[in-house]
């Protein structure tokens, strides 16, 4: 086990843990904040993973990542993380590889929908009306007939409502949480559309965005992507599709800049570890094909075998 994690990362975490001076740490989540670099304090994207599942933590340890436990807390912090590890669920590895890949792609589609769809609606309605076919634009215009304000006001109203419903569902007891969602989603949505406060197509877009955001397995990551969606909406209001492209470029640039314990946040997509890219990234190959551990966590280790056909001595 000692050889699995990068020694310099372990030492960095130990050093950081020794320098913490605080009156109380109530949960491991609070501990995680102390482990981040100063430049990453305001990052909306989570640079650590919190989990209570033993299988998830064991898997992370076997991949060369580091887990931290604290007293009086049921969950562990896992470092370093990448965007990809936060998008994965244990089911990906328990299901057959094709089903696992399918579910993984569905989640990525959901993420893309959450980020882009509201901004795309604003762009197509307000700035780039000439991009789509005339028939589609006529249907869109007919749906918005009677709505007294521009598309971006509609989007802001509906997304704010969605955020409130989300928050209410999380905070309310589970018994009445579902009822609140139904009241919020169905009754308010239908009434708003009938009174021409919003268009029917906006309800479709809001519902699709909400469903897309629920497919993101990590709540913190979902919140970060929703913030990115708002950022794209802001840029789409004056610049349309160009604003969206620019905004996405900026987000990608920021993500390329992010690192979690010296591991690039978008690894293995922007590292040169092609084996990892085609074994366990967007596509998940059968476990027998994943013969080596991910290289991003131990870049200086030449090979690290995790599935050897014969002989236990080859492990590590």
């Amino acid at each position: 086990m000692r050889a699995l994690a990068e020694p310099s990362s372990v030492k960095a975490i130990m050093d950081r843990l020794h320098t913490i001076q605080t009156d109380a740490i109530l949960d491991t989540t609070q501990l995680a904040h102390f482990l981040l670099d100063k430049s990453k304090w305001f990052s909306p994207f989570p640079l650590y993973q919190i989990s209570e599942r033993p299988d998830k933590i064991t898997s992370a340890l076997m991949e060369g990542r580091i887990a931290i436990l604290a007293e009086n807390s049921p969950s562990a912090i896992v470092l370093p993380v990448t965007m990809l590890t936060l998008q994965q669920t244990p089911d990906d590895y328990y299901f057959p590889s094709i089903s696992g890949t399918f579910l993984r792609l569905i989640r990525f589609t959901g993420m893309v929908t959450t980020v882009f769809l509201p901004a795309l609606y604003i762009s197509i309605n307000s700035v780039n009306q000439d991009v789509l076919r005339v028939q589609f634009m006529l249907a869109l215009a007919a749906s918005r007939e009677g709505v007294p304000y521009p598309a971006f006001v509609e989007v802001i109203i509906m997304l704010s409502l969605l955020e409130m419903i989300n928050e209410a569902t999380v905070r309310l007891p589970r018994l009445i949480g579902g009822t609140a969602t139904i009241v919020g989603g169905l009754i308010i949505g239908t009434a708003a559309a009938q009174s021409h406060l919003i268009s029917n197509i906006m309800i479709v877009i809001t519902a699709t965005t909400a469903i897309g955001s629920y497919t993101i397995p990590n709540y913190m990551l979902g919140a970060a992507w929703r913030i990115c969606g708002y950022f794209l909406c802001l840029l789409a209001i004056p610049l349309g599709l160009l604003g969206m492209s620019t905004g996405m470029g900026m987000i990608l640039l920021y993500l390329s800049h992010l690192k979690s314990l010296n591991v690039p946040y978008l690894a293995p997509f922007n590292t040169f570890y092609f084996r990892d890219l085609f074994r366990d990234a967007l596509i998940k190959m059968p476990k027998t094909w994943m013969k080596t551990r991910p290289k991003e966590n131990r870049p200086h280790l030449e090979t690290s075998v995790r599935n050897a056909r014969k002989g236990g001595d080859q492990l590590l």
Binding site: G240, L253, S256, H257, N270
Partner: protein, 185 residues
Amino acid sequence: MKSYFKEKEVYYPVLLFVVMSAFNGTRGTEDSLVMGVGRNAVWFPFVGFLLAIMGLLAAFAISRQAKGDSLMLASGRIGPSFLTPLSYLLYTVLFWGGAAFIIIGGGDFFSRTLLYGDQSKLILIMIIILVVFSFLPMDTLGRYAHIVLLFVFPIFLIIDLTKIPLIHWSYLYPPVSFKSWDAIR
């Protein structure tokens, strides 16, 4: 490739160069080439590409002989020491030209192929983006180029390839037009 370069400042620009060439291979260049050279313009990108590859291989070879140092550092070590800052300056000019080229090419692509708006606005926005880029370390830009190459470039390529059915292949005949050589002279 890793064994050739010790300096990541050189390692990543190679990746950036590949991405920029890939983006601009089909955009912006053809109009200016056709206007300047005439019918033989169709062959010029291949010649340019071959020259670029040869330059890249020469840089690799020199770096390998200089035990991992870049062309710039090696030139100062082998020749007079002022060659190192001079070659870094030339490198800057090269990337400056590359930046101008990608701004024009990108502006052309967005305004004419994707019909996103007028080119002057696009060029202005891209200049602002490039300024933001210049504040970030080379690692970040390299990683960004990597992501763009994987996820964005295929979209550009597909859009460009949709024009293939519109090509009049017969216009390539005769393969070399001797009349057009006069334009170069």
